[in-house]
Symmetry: C2
Subunit: 205 residues, 2 copies
Amino acid sequence: MSATTRVPQEERTRAMRQRLMDATVELLVEKGFSGTSTTLVSERAGVSRGAQLHHFPTKNDLVVAAVAHLTQIRGSDLEAAVDRLPEGPGRTEAVVQMLGEHFASPVFTAALELWVAARTDPALLQAVGPLEQRVGRETHRLTVELLGADESRPGVRELVQATLDLVRGLGLADTLGDDARRRRRILKEWARTLDAALEKGGTPQ
Amino acid sequence: MSATTRVPQEERTRAMRQRLMDATVELLVEKGFSGTSTTLVSERAGVSRGAQLHHFPTKNDLVVAAVAHLTQIRGSDLEAAVDRLPEGPGRTEAVVQMLGEHFASPVFTAALELWVAARTDPALLQAVGPLEQRVGRETHRLTVELLGADESRPGVRELVQATLDLVRGLGLADTLGDDARRRRRILKEWARTLDAALEKGGTPQ
C-alpha cells in the first residue's frame, strides 16, 4: 500500500472512530448508560455494525474509549473558556461562573452517567477512576492558576477544592431540572465570599 | 373479621412492605438502579413473588415507594443527628460536618441512583422530582435553623444553598471512592469561611 492511499484510509478510520465516540456521548446524555447500546451507537454514528464491532467489540470498550474522548472534550472546553475570562475585579466571579457552566453542560451529564454506572461495575471503574482523578487534578491546577490562588497559605487549597465540589453539586442538581438562574446567584455570592477569604479585595458580607 | 385478628394482619403487611423497601434501598446501593430487579428484591426481603407483586406490580412501583421510604429515612437520620450537635463556637463546623456525613451515606447513594435513572425515565422523574424538591426545601429550612442564619440579610440564603450544593458535590465524589479525610478538611475550612461571612465571630482567612 502506498503512502498516498494509506493516509486517506487512516483519516477515514479516525473520522469513523470520532463519530462513534460522539454518538456514544450523545446517547449517554439522551438515554443514560443503561439505555445506550452498541446497536444504537452504530446507527447514530452511521457506521456499519461490522466496522463498529471491529473497533469496539463490547459496550464497555466503546464506553471506555468515550470516557477518554470525553476527558479530551472537557479539557479543551475549559481551555477555550479560559481565553474569554476578564482580568481585574470581576475575574473571580467569571472563573466560578465558567466552572459552574462547565459542570452543568451535557459533557458533565455524560460523565455522571459513567461515574454512576462505574460505581457498581468494577471493569468500568478501572477505566473511569484513573481518568477522573487525572481530570480532577487538572481542573484543580487550572482553577488555582485562574484564581491566582496561593496554596501555600493555610486554607486556600481547601477553598479551591470546595469551589470544585460546589460546582459538581450544582451540576448534579442541574440534571434534575434545576435552573441556571439559581446557580448563577449562588456562584455570584460564593465568588464574593471567596474573594474575601482569599484577601483579594472582595467585601466580606 | 374481628379487630383482634385484623390488627396483627395489618402489622404483618406493614412489616412485609418495610422489608421490601429496605431490600430495594440495599440493592440500589449494591447493584445500582439497572441491577435492581423485583426478583432480587423479593429474594432479599424474604417475601414471596406473589405477595411482592400484589403490593408492587412493577419495578417502578417498588422504586417509587422506596423513594418515599428513603425520604423518610433521610429526614429522621438528619433529625437524629441534630440532637448530637454542640452549642457555641464549634456549632457551624459541627453542622456542616453532619451534613457532609449525611450526603456521603448509603442513603445518598441510593437516592443518587434514583436521580440518575429518573433523568432519562419520565415516569420515574414524575415521582422523584417532587419528592426531591420537598426534601431539598426541608433540608434547607433545617440548615438555616441549625446555623441560626438570618436569610433576610443579602447573600445569606445563597450561602446556605451553596453549603448544601457543596455537600451534594462531596457526596457524589465520595461514591467514586473519595475519602472522608479530604471531605472533613474541606468542610472545616468551609465552616470558618461561612462563620466569617455570616458574621458569627469566625476569623476571616
